[in-house]
């Protein structure tokens, strides 16, 4: 584990990094699992005592490295420091994780009580893989893709629609720059040329359902390109197809959604929305523009705090907004008329896949008999089925990318 500054307060048992501690004769590798667990508990207890004496340490920085660094033996359960494990679930870890991840920093008392589960606390998200630093572009990665990958991995571009449009726009640039090598046809070779670009994007951040659907459509269009077309014509045709896809499946779809959804907003309504969905933003602006008198409650959550931008946009348009964080949701839900949320995708069983925290908002709304309206274009429909938020998800931005001071 990469030690943070607070690691100086080490228990007498020794640093939990695989080196034989002063009290042990054998290396940790040689110990049985039970003995290792005992050692862990001892170390944790000592640390807890030490830390309680020194005051609760803050969240360690450089967290992502902690998750991944092995303990000198791949099979060993990671001895977690008290603060580690406690901070782990509070990490802005999973962008779309279960609500357990949203617990605030637990007090020391809770921590000692939950000692047994702390090792699990670290392992619990291990199946999401380690957050990888964006590797240097290998092979022929087009600069547009390299730039896009960086923007994805640093969460500069977020949101299903935004990512899809950005990806397709980058692909248009690539297609225009592409030159068919001799003895190859565009319809066969272009796809093999695009594949490493796509992999680079996926390495930066797992592909969204929207990107997947759009790329599938693009592949279909490419393979259907007329063999006899001169190259520039074929490229122009593909770019036109991409433009049509964006226009029809996203822009115009959003307009249709705007019209139908804004009809569900009546005068005097209190609309609640979560985080920032591009579609919901459009719906609210449309309803306001058509003269309806309503107010909006924007519920937001760390670490992305996307709702702030939504409040700025809505207030500028003249809509009365209230802003609050997710834990305060219960206080306002009884005043809400309708909840509008966006979606990353909708599964075949009707389940909605969206920003982490949306499930909480929906459950709270149900409890108060408030209708929940999901605004989602059809190109976001996914053929998969997910039964929980846990098995297939992705980790969000690591804390190290943020300063620990409250800021925008």
């Amino acid at each position: 584990m990469a030690p943070g500054p607070m690691l100086d307060v080490h228990p007498p048992a020794g640093p939990p990094n695989g080196e034989p501690s002063t009290g042990q004769q054998k290396s940790q590798k040689a110990m049985t699992k039970a003995e290792r667990r005992e050692l862990q508990e001892k170390q944790r207890a000592a640390k807890a005592a030490k830390a309680a004496a020194n005051g609760a340490p803050g969240k360690p920085s450089g967290k992502p490295k902690d998750q991944g660094a092995p303990q000198g033996g791949a099979a060993k359960p990671k001895p977690s420091r008290a603060s580690d494990a406690q901070a782990r679930p509070t990490l802005p870890a999973a962008t779309r994780a279960t609500e357990k991840a949203k617990a605030g920093q637990a007090s020391m008392a809770v921590d000692t009580a939950a000692k047994g589960t702390q090792a699990r606390g670290l392992l619990i998200f291990s199946h999401f893989g380690l957050p990888k630093p964006v590797s240097a572009a290998k092979g022929d990665i087009h600069p547009a893709i390299a730039r896009l990958a960086l923007q994805f991995s640093t969460f500069k571009i977020t949101g299903a629609n935004a990512r899809c449009i950005a990806t397709l726009t980058a692909f248009k640039t690539i297609i225009q720059d592409y030159v068919t090598p001799p003895n190859h046809t565009l319809s066969r070779h272009l796809m093999t040329y695009l594949s490493p670009q796509i992999s680079h994007l996926v390495a930066a951040r797992p592909m969204s359902v929207t990107m997947g659907n759009a790329i599938r459509q693009l592949k279909l269009d490419i393979s259907g390109t007329d063999f006899d077309l001169p190259e520039q014509d074929a490229k122009d045709a593909l770019c036109r197809k991409i433009d049509t896809y964006i226009r029809e499946r996203i822009i115009i779809a959003d307009q249709v959604i705007q019209e139908t959804a804004s009809n569900k907003i009546k005068d005097g309504d209190v609309i609640l929305t979560y985080a920032r969905s591009s579609v919901v933003e459009k719906v609210l602006l449309e309803a306001h523009a058509s003269g309806r008198n309503f107010s909006v409650i924007v519920v937001d959550s760390r670490p992305m705090l996307e709702g702030k931008r939504l409040v700025a946009v809505l207030s500028e348009a003249g809509i009365q907004c209230t802003y609050l964080l997710l834990p305060a949701l219960g206080a306002v839900m009884s005043e809400v008329s309708t909840v509008f949320v966006g979606a990353h995708s909708i599964h075949t069983n009707g389940a909605v896949y969206s920003r982490a925290g949306t499930a909480l908002v929906a459950m709270m709304a149900k409890r108060h008999s408030v209708p929940v309206v999901v605004c989602c274009e059809t190109y976001k429909f996914s053929e998969s089925i997910q039964l929980d938020s846990f098995t297939k998800n992705e980790l969000g931005q690591s804390l190290s990318a943020y300063s620990l001071l409250p800021s925008d």
Partner: protein, 299 residues
């Protein structure tokens, strides 16, 4: 084609304006307009197409009359001998189903009075004329009678996209009580009543206006004025009661027209309270209704 649809839409609007309760009318109009646009036409010129559309329209109207018979036949399978059925207000399709069942089974029926229009009494008369034992129950006695009942059968103004039901006010109440008492709640609806509405709540219906359930600060009136208005109301009820053939020696108070106007005429029943929807396209679950609607209007 667009102008034709425009003309149809205008005509439908006019019809809706004239009717006091436009929901089922709405449903029928939208269905026909959708049919016109989605109808595969191989005709070469407009005159032929027009004739074809007219023919189809008339055929549909003629068929529609037979829908109630189909529904009555489907309902028969769910009625056992000595069934006690609860129904609400007056519905031609329910009436047809009950009369059809009476030919081969022994049934008895409770029907709600269904204020303010009192249409339940119309049902009462029709059923007793046919020889079916029938009793009118107060709207407020639905929960009281529910344990005696085997199942509930209601008609519909419209069946909406969520699978829910729009019917005379009191149906939602009946459905909730039936659910609490674990009795099946069946809705009978012809397929032209399937509507693309999706109400998010009771107040999201097109029939809802701000006057309904409005609360106004009353102006303090003198006692004399009060008595005069209530007397007038009593007289109104007395005359209407005698005209209905019900004698009542007890002076009953009744709502004024103004007060009645603040009340809804229809309400919305959620799909999870409905057991089955019987229609001419078959016996559907509420989820099946939305699937059918999507299939219909998606072409």
């Amino acid at each position: 084609m667009f102008e034709l649809v425009q003309a149809l839409n205008d005509g439908a609007e006019e019809l809706k304006r004239r009717s006091p309760n436009p929901i089922s009318l709405n449903a029928g109009c939208e269905l026909f307009i959708a049919f016109v646009t989605l109808f595969p036409h191989e005709s070469d010129n407009f005159a032929e197409l027009k004739k074809e559309l007219e023919q189809q329209g008339r055929k549909y109207a003629a068929e529609a009359i037979s829908f109630r018979d189909k529904i009555a036949e489907l309902t028969l399978g769910f009625i056992k001998d000595d069934s006690v059925i609860l129904t609400h207000s007056y519905s031609r399709v329910v009436l047809k189903a009950l009369l059809h069942a009476h030919k081969t089974k022994r049934i008895s029926v409770y029907v709600t009075e269904s204020r303010p229009r009192g249409l339940g009494l119309k049902t009462y008369e029709a059923l007793t004329a046919a020889g079916i034992p029938c009793t009118v129950v107060l709207d407020s006695a639905v929960a009281y009678v529910m344990d005696r009942v085997d199942f509930v059968l209601v008609g519909s103004e419209a069946v909406v996209e969520s699978g829910g039901l729009i019917n005379y006010v009191g149906s939602n109440q009946m459905a909730i009580v039936a659910k609490a008492a674990n009795k099946p709640f069946y809705a009978l609806a012809e397929s032209y009543k399937f509507h693309r509405l999706f109400p998010l709540s009771q107040y999201d219906l097109p029939t809802h206006n701000p006057n309904i359930l409005s609360l106004t600060t009353p102006i303090a009136r003198s006692a004399g004025q009060d008595a005069a208005s209530s007397d007038a109301a009593q007289e109104a009820t007395a005359t209407s009661q005698t005209s209905r053939g019900i004698s009542s020696s007890v002076t009953e108070r009744a709502m004024t027209q103004e007060q009645i106007a603040k009340n809804p005429g229809v309400d919305y029943t959620r799909p999870d309270l409905i057991s089955l929807v019987f229609s001419d396209v078959g016996i559907l679950t509420p989820e099946g209704v939305s699937q059918y609607l999507v299939g219909m209007f998606a072409g």
